[in-house]
């Protein structure tokens, strides 16, 4: 029942309105980084919203053309540092596809486990940050508490907490140990209980429901026109998930659902992500149960990576949606062109249209529900 603003066209010219431009960002607590929003406001209503990006542009595509394939390995995890594993996955997979390397199954299983752990960690950060936007501080701390548990697991394997550089062309740089497996099992159990607590504390909360239900509706058609993916698209009722639609790695071997809700409002996107945490836990459980023995590195990996000339494309489902790499190789040690298709970029692009006529408070809730990582937008 949020009161929408009668946007421009429906108001007669006889009543000229005084508008002003509110500049939100690049430093503003609601923009999660260095995003700037130019909001044309009528009182507290947003008449027109224009995101201004580029404040965290870090030339990843240019660096791709400057470095050898191996040297680019640290980069993908810094594009979207919250789902570093997925980005690494896409990068190593596109090069493996170009080289035609077969990855040992154990390596792929571990990739899936770590990727899904990373997805949960990413959703937890979103959960906390989103609630911070809505004015609740405590859930952020609880979410970070759980996230630390994931980070401990991943740090023990990869050596770093955030920007993992763990996957290699043809496999992984090292194997996991029994401790990791045990820790992951324990974590799955722990997280299930915590999810119940989050639902009690947050999902069912009257104030939160009122703040999210019916706010910031994005239609499936709008998503399609802007290429929005991930939880944003699934929150508009389209069960589109790269893991199901264009299966990669060993995902076809696991049973999991693609949560989707037809409402298209902030609540739907919220529920999609919370449900996805549960689904990721399911995948991890299955992957651990099925984890095969064997090597974690393919045998036939050339010492110097020189993919045959051509054009290769690989998409993965990152925490924020479809992340894809288009690699154009000219047969040398250095990529000729490395195009990074990032989900946040497309998800943010529709903000201007979706925020029109909303109250500022609701517009910022909408922004939070898109789950943006600004360096992911800017690359």
């Amino acid at each position: 029942m949020s009161p929408g603003h009668p946007t421009d066209s429906s108001v007669s010219a006889a009543a000229p309105r005084e508008t002003f431009v509110l500049n939100v960002g690049p430093q503003h607590p609601a923009t999660h980084g260095v995003l700037r929003l130019k909001l044309t406001m009528d009182g507290e209503y947003v008449l027109h919203a224009e995101p201004v990006i580029g404040y965290a542009h870090r030339m990843h595509e240019k660096m791709g053309e400057n470095r050898t394939y191996v040297q680019f390995l640290p980069n993908p995890s810094r594009i979207d540092y919250l789902s570093a594993m997925h980005y690494m996955h896409a990068y190593v997979c596109v090069v493996e596809r170009a080289l035609g390397i077969e990855v040992p199954p154990r390596a792929e299983y571990i990739r899936v486990i770590t990727s899904e752990l990373n997805r949960i960690a990413s959703h937890l950060v979103w959960f906390g940050a989103f609630l911070l936007d809505l004015g609740a501080f405590t859930p952020l701390l609880y979410a970070f508490d759980d996230r630390e548990k994931i980070l401990d697991l991943l740090e023990a394997v990869t050596g770093s907490r955030l920007t993992y550089c763990y996957y290699r062309f043809g496999g992984l740089c090292n194997d996991v140990d029994e401790q990791f497996i045990e820790g992951t099992r324990a974590f799955v159990k722990h997280m299930r209980g915590r999810l119940g607590m989050y639902h009690k504390l947050v999902t069912e909360n009257l104030i939160l429901r009122k703040r999210l239900e019916g706010i910031g509706v994005i239609s499936a058609e709008l998503c399609r026109k802007y290429g929005a993916t991930g939880p944003v698209l699934r929150g508009s009722g389209v069960p589109c998930d790269v893991r199901k639609l264009e299966p990669y790695s060993v995902y076809p071997e696991f049973e999991f659902d693609v949560p989707h809700f037809a409402e298209g409002d902030c609540m739907a996107r919220y529920k999609v992500r919370m449900e996805e945490i549960a689904q990721s836990l399911r995948i991890i459980e299955q992957a651990i149960a099925k984890l095969p023995p064997g090597p974690v590195m393919a045998e036939k990996v050339p010492r110097v990576i020189k993919p045959p000339p051509g054009d290769y494309y690989f998409a993965v489902e990152a925490a924020r949606g479809r992340f894809a790499i288009r690699l154009v190789s000219d047969g040398t040690e250095v990529p000729y062109r490395l195009k990074l298709r990032t989900p946040s970029f497309s998800n943010l692009a529709l903000f201007g249209e979706a925020a029109r006529g909303l109250l500022m408070q609701d517009a910022l809730a909408l922004l939070g529900s898109l789950d943006l990582v600004i360096p992911d937008v800017d690359r």
């Binding site: 026109k225 589109c240 479809r322 692009a349």
Partner: protein
């Protein structure tokens, strides 16, 4: 699925730049080429002339594709720049690539942002990086680069920005 690909193929097969009386240009049909998704990651590659990219996008739109991304590739030896349009299908396992090439010394082609509003940012970004002009685009001011940037860093001949500090 295969049926859909067949339909797509026939839809693109009729996509032809009509021969124009005032120029010498002959009618150019679109080249439709199915590819192996396991090797290349896409199902269908369509190569068109710049004049019909809007029509090509409209076909994609009609088939329910969503815009994935738009990017440029610089080919200085050929004196051309390639613009690649990626479309994915939200319901089916289907990936469509539309390619076109523009001359490198005056790169320009029509915008598809009327068909896919989401193309707006992708085109702006491509303009940022390659200096390719999208005719009819409402606003080509730099998106990722500073507002006053006049360089196109992903061109192969780009070396450095003159900055007072370095």
């Amino acid at each position: 699925m295969n049926e859909l690909i067949e339909q797509l193929k026939s839809a693109y097969a009729v996509l032809v730049v009509p021969a124009r009386a005032d120029t010498q240009a002959a009618a150019v049909p679109a080249v439709v080429q199915p590819t192996d998704p396991e090797r290349r990651g896409c199902h269908l590659e369509v190569t068109v002339t710049p004049a019909v990219v809007v029509d090509a996008a409209q076909v994609a739109n009609r088939f329910g594709f969503a815009i994935d991304t738009i990017t440029g590739i610089d080919w200085p030896e050929a004196g051309q720049m390639e613009v690649v349009y990626d479309f994915f299908h939200p319901q089916h396992r289907l990936h469509l690539v539309v390619r076109t090439r523009v001359p490198r010394d005056a790169p320009a082609l029509p915008t598809i942002q009327d068909v896919f509003p989401g193309a707006n940012w992708h085109e702006r970004e491509t303009h940022d990086f390659f200096g390719i002009k999208f005719i009819g685009h409402p606003d080509l001011t730099p998106l990722l680069l500073p507002e006053d940037a006049d360089y196109h860093p992903l061109r192969k001949d780009f070396t450095n920005v003159s900055r007072s500090s370095n």
